[in-house]
């Protein structure tokens, strides 16, 4: 068990965004997190990346209590993520964006930067690695283009490259297929599966594109109003009464 979420609740004022959510992900799995808009999927992501504090519950990652770790140490532990509505650094080029992703891999601090001790060498190594990752995601032609004014799908891929730069064990993807065409979605699904093999990843995937989730997930968790309503293999979840009701509404 790599990630174990136990009874996690998040409240914003009077609104309960997550209500006693419990689930776990095994090492090497792709876990799909589905649910209608507002079900709390992105909130879940923000809790795991320590942007929000839950008011109740526990999260452990590889046996370590995640709630003891401040936000900036999450990357070091091997957790990386992408954002639903893009959180890139628009004034930087693509390769620089990926280089920031490798922040936790570097060691040059203020003193070494000012005195240039080993800074050049580190820049070189990280730039090399970042270009490799861009090539992996088919973005190498745009390496020195600023990360703004490019198509949404391209920037989404850039976010994946940036997340991978941290050499993570656990990758959280927040709607990577949003805004893509049908053929692009298929391509992305293949990319995700091959990245898992290549980098030995465990992936938590939030996605509205059901065909893709059902195709590549080993395990699916369905949520509604901050609660888990179903869990199991894609097939089990697809046929679950609660899930069908949540998506289609009314009695079945």
């Amino acid at each position: 068990m790599l990630l174990d979420v136990r009874d996690v609740s998040v409240r914003f004022g009077g609104i309960v965004a997550l209500d006693g959510l419990t689930f776990s992900i095994n090492q090497g799995d792709i876990c799909g997190l589905i649910g209608p808009n507002g079900a709390g999927k992105t909130t879940m992501f923000n809790v795991v990346s320590r942007i929000y504090d839950p008011f109740k519950g526990n999260i452990s990652f590889d046996g370590q209590n995640l709630l003891d770790v401040p936000a900036h140490r999450i990357a070091e532990l091997g957790i990386a993520r992408t954002f639903q509505n893009l959180a890139l650094f628009p004034t930087m080029t693509l390769v620089e964006n990926v280089m920031v992703g490798a922040h936790c891999q570097g060691s040059v601090g203020f003193l070494r930067a000012m005195t240039r001790i080993g800074a050049r060498k580190e820049n070189h190594l990280i730039a090399e690695k970042s270009r490799d990752l861009l090539r992996e995601l088919g973005l190498d032609k745009l390496a020195h283009h600023p990360a703004s004014g490019l198509p949404f799908g391209t920037l989404k891929r850039l976010e994946i490259a940036r997340a991978l730069a941290a050499s993570p064990r656990f990758l959280l993807l927040d709607e990577p297929a949003a805004g893509l065409t049908h053929s692009e979605v298929d391509e992305l699904a293949d990319t995700i599966v091959s990245l898992r093999e290549k980098f030995n990843l465990t992936i938590l995937l939030v996605e509205h594109h059901m065909a893709m989730v059902m195709r590549i997930s080993d395990q699916v968790v369905a949520m509604e109003f901050g609660r888990k309503i179903a869990e199991g293999t894609p097939k089990q979840v697809q046929n679950d009464e609660n899930v069908i009701r949540a998506y289609l509404g009314g009695d079945v």
Binding site: S49, I51, P70, A71, H72, R73, I74, A75, E76, A80, R81, F83, A87, L88, F89, P90, T91, M92, E96, M99, V100, G101, H103, C104, G106, S107, V108, G109, F110, R112, A113, M114, T115, R116, A119, E122, N123, I126, A127, E128, R131, D140, K141, A143, H144, R162, A166
Partner: protein, 355 residues
């Protein structure tokens, strides 16, 4: 359109040519100009260092500070007090000022950098306004000499530097101030350049562009902001020391110690190009040039110039720079350096390596 590959022979040739041209210019000024001109360049160097320090905080990290005049003042007063009361040799006061300003900068940054945007601007504005008042405070008069300020803290005898020979008199002082200013400027530039072209610099820009994403990438946002503010404060203090050593006086009304100083640093940085390494240099030179050429344009001007600027009773340089700022913000939001880059890109492009 011309294309040059990064790291190719042509690229290196252009670089060497630029460096040579700058070097010739740097040596030409103190050897072939009148004393007043040399002094103008020395004061430009001081302003450039201050604008550079502000650039680290505002240009790169995106945290506005209107309080940098206080750090300039801390540097100036540290030098003056150490020389007058403790008989320090002027050269060592640079180190003391840098350390004191670093500590004060970090202490101010810790609570202050938790707030953002306009509120941060207001709090740092308060720092700038409070500082001269603090200097005039009766209970601190034993240290700061109150409203009088501290004077005659110049070098008794100018130190002898290799290549420069023995410098004497008013001319000698100007030449010495020039080279001392240049030395500190080069050190400050190398520090800034080192920071920016490293993992630290990337994390600064990441904080400016998207703080949440920066934290998720593993940047310790609070620590980075506090440390860069401290470093910026200590660089600004170096500029203050330079100013004290070349003029020999510090008072609570000194132009760069009051709020006006912060505004001038800000203006220089933005006009030159915020978030660029050469921006403050260009901005500082332009500011001092404008300040000196427009000094005559005042109440005694006639014609169109007199009509436009006749109502001002001092140098309209700040006014003209303010107008220039509006124009620049409209046409080149990244300042003169940004404008130059945009125009030169039409003629020459430099292709990065590794494509």
């Amino acid at each position: 359109m011309l294309k040059i590959k990064e790291g190719s022979v042509v690229h290196w040739a252009v670089r060497v040519a630029c460096v040579l041209a700058i070097a010739i210019f740097i040596v030409y000024i103190p050897t072939h100009s009148e004393t007043a001109r040399i002094g103008q360049f020395a004061s430009a160097f001081t302003l450039i260092i201050a604008a550079m320090s502000l650039n680290l905080v505002l240009g790169y990290t995106g945290q506005i500070s209107i309080g940098h005049s206080a750090f300039f003042g801390i540097g100036g007063y540290t030098a003056a007090i150490l020389i007058r009361d403790h008989g320090w040799s002027p050269g060592y006061t640079f180190y003391a000022a840098a350390i004191i300003a670093f500590i004060v900068g970090c202490l101010i940054a810790m609570p202050v950098l938790r707030i953002r945007g306009a509120y941060l601007a207001l709090v740092t504005l308060a720092v700038a306004v409070l500082f001269p008042t603090l200097l005039r405070w009766k209970k601190l008069e034993w240290l700061t000499s109150g409203a009088k300020g501290i004077d005659s803290v110049k070098y008794d005898k100018l130190p002898v530097w290799p290549f420069l020979g023995e410098l004497k008199g008013r001319d000698g002082r100007a030449v010495f101030a020039y080279w001392l200013g240049l030395l500190v400027l080069v050190i400050a530039f190398l520090i800034c350049r080192g920071l920016i072209k490293s993992r630290v610099g990337r994390s600064l820009i990441a904080i400016r562009d998207n703080e949440t994403a920066a934290a998720v990438m593993g940047v310790n946002v609070t620590r980075t902001k506090v440390l860069i503010f401290g470093i910026s404060a200590s660089l600004c203090a170096l500029a203050g020391v330079l100013s004290t050593l070349s003029t020999g006086v510090v008072t609570p009304d000194g132009q760069y110690v009051t709020l006006l100083g912060s505004i001038i640093f800000l203006l220089i940085m933005v006009v030159g190009g915020a978030g660029t390494l050469s921006g403050p240099i260009i901005g500082g030179l332009v500011y001092v040039w404008l300040d000196n050429t427009t000094r005559g344009i005042g109440t005694d001007s006639r014609g169109v110039v007199g009509f436009i600027f006749g109502w001002t009773n001092q140098s309209p340089a700040t006014l003209i720079l303010g107008l220039a700022l509006i124009v620049i913000m409209l046409f080149a939001p990244t300042g003169l350096v940004g404008l130059f880059r945009k125009l030169s890109r039409r003629i020459v492009t430099i292709e990065p390596q590794g494509q």
